[in-house]
Amino acid sequence: MPTGAQQTLPRRITIDPITRLEGHGKIDIFLDAKGEVEKAFYQIPELRGFEVFSLGRPAEDMPQITSRICGVCPTAHHMAATKALDDLYRVDPPPTAKKVRELIYNTFMLEDHALHVYILGGPDFIVGPDAPKAKRNVLGVIETVGIETGKRVITMRRRLRELIAHLGGKVIHPVFGLPGGVARGVSPDEIPALKSLADDAVAFALFTLEVFRKIVLANDKYVALITSDAFTHHTYSMGLVDAANKVNFYDGTVRVTDPSGKEFTRFAPGEYLDTVAEHVEPWSYVKFPFLKKVGWKGFTDGPDSGIYSVAPLARLNVADGMATPEAQKAYEEYVATLGGKPVHHTLANHWARVIEMIQAAEKIRELAADPLLTGKELRTLPTEKPTRGIGIVEAPRGTLMHHYETDEKGLITKANLIVATQNNAGRISMSVEKAARALIHGGKVDDGLLNKIEMAFRAYDPCNACSTHALPGQMPLTIRLRNAAGDVEKVIER
């Protein structure tokens, strides 16, 4: 800590650990002699190696193994893995099984987004970015919005999660996914309670939008922050859309739009390798996906840079609209307020997230009323020999791709995962650095200012355990010493 008598400005500021997100991370900010930001690094220091320790495992274990990539979004991995298994065994689930999967999935999207809005990212707006550290959390939120509202949020999430646990065995690391179906179904006598929960869910999502309008949109300072250049990046966007080009979390085609909003490409899960590639940097364990056809041009914006964005902001950019009526209304208000599409204001992710909550809730209601939901056909048993399977879903935090190859016995011979937040890694790095540059001058920092820099990543609702499912391991034999600019100054061989 700098003492009062210190004359020199700090050269390096570290935020360690970053907080109110899933996963590990730190931000290292390097200043020049005048106390202006030279470079900032958003680093993820964790990895575990799922793609490699999955080798030799029975493919049908992958939904439960890969769900341990993330305990906040386990259902996303479980679902992507399950769809990859459908593809692997070339088996199509019966309609009822798909309905059950969609019900679980939309319930999950709703409760996970609610977690971020109220517990992870929300405190920044609800309590305020400069609020004292000890208040910038869910407890501070409850103090601000009142205990009744606090209980409403807690109870709603509990009920939604109990539904997932009921249908999926467990809510944290569910067990329902099988190639060609689900392990158990919904019985008709469960429908009345389900319909009641669905109605409450829609009301809750709309209530959340009201909270957001009252606390964020009505606050000029916040709106200025959201639309400020410091928190804006013009990148490509990626997300799943259904046949009508509307947002769909569970299934569809992947659509990519350019920074101006035009469709750049679209692909089916099986073709992802034609479009997506990963870049490696020495200062973080996460790999940085980029669009192959544009190329990796470094950490820059614009149509010539292959960096793209995923998650709510991007999903609402690539789609022509939402798939349910109340969500669509909210979406139209969002687009109109922010001056049209595509929206490039990173902090608008928070708003887009609330709109997605509304769609997820309306989908639950739709499915609760669907007679197919309580059908008896839950499984199509595989008959084909497995070879290769690719499954893609929209995790709350972005497009999630699972790719498996197996031998004849269905044991994994290769696994490749491109995981949601990871797709945002490039943009998050840019966001953090840009925010740091804009906010830090003359070396002056305080807790509130550093928190505002953290807000630059928090808007993406990152899941760092997801993004670094991989494992590098051993220190290499060559050490490249880099200065703050990232240039190699010295090479040491050992």
Binding site: M1, P10, R12, I13, T14, V445, M475
Partner: protein, 168 residues
Amino acid sequence: MTTTAEQANGWEPRIVAFFCNWCTYTAADLAGVSRLRHAPNARIIRVMCSGRLDPQFVLDAFARGADGVLVGGCHPGDCHYMEGNYKALRRVRLLERMLDGMGIHRDRFRLEWISASEGEKVKTTINDMVARVRALGPLALPAKFADWDREMDELEHAVAAQTEDVHA
């Protein structure tokens, strides 16, 4: 292969042998009484039946420094408790695959049917196993554990920058 360093250190294979009371242990006694000389490297543990062999015994033996584990039981059909040796066989077959998956060489773990009158077989089995394990060299898991854990002593993460000033 045993390294010359290991030979020079006087390393000797340490085999833990679980012998069933009714057949193999009796045969080992017979070998002793008959003055049949075999390698002294096996520590014999008497169990009432090869079916008593808990796979944890095998793993624990390795973890505590055994270079090899030998199991001896009655021939199929002759088990004093009828079915015990079949259970041993089934467990051993799966345990062998599990040990493969953990990188332990097959020659380090062996099941042999030796009846009470087969003192000679005790001798040849032990000699053969000791020779194979000698060729493989020490397994030395306790030393390996200690060696692996030394990596935690290295102050790798140290070196935060010399100019580290402000922590949030």
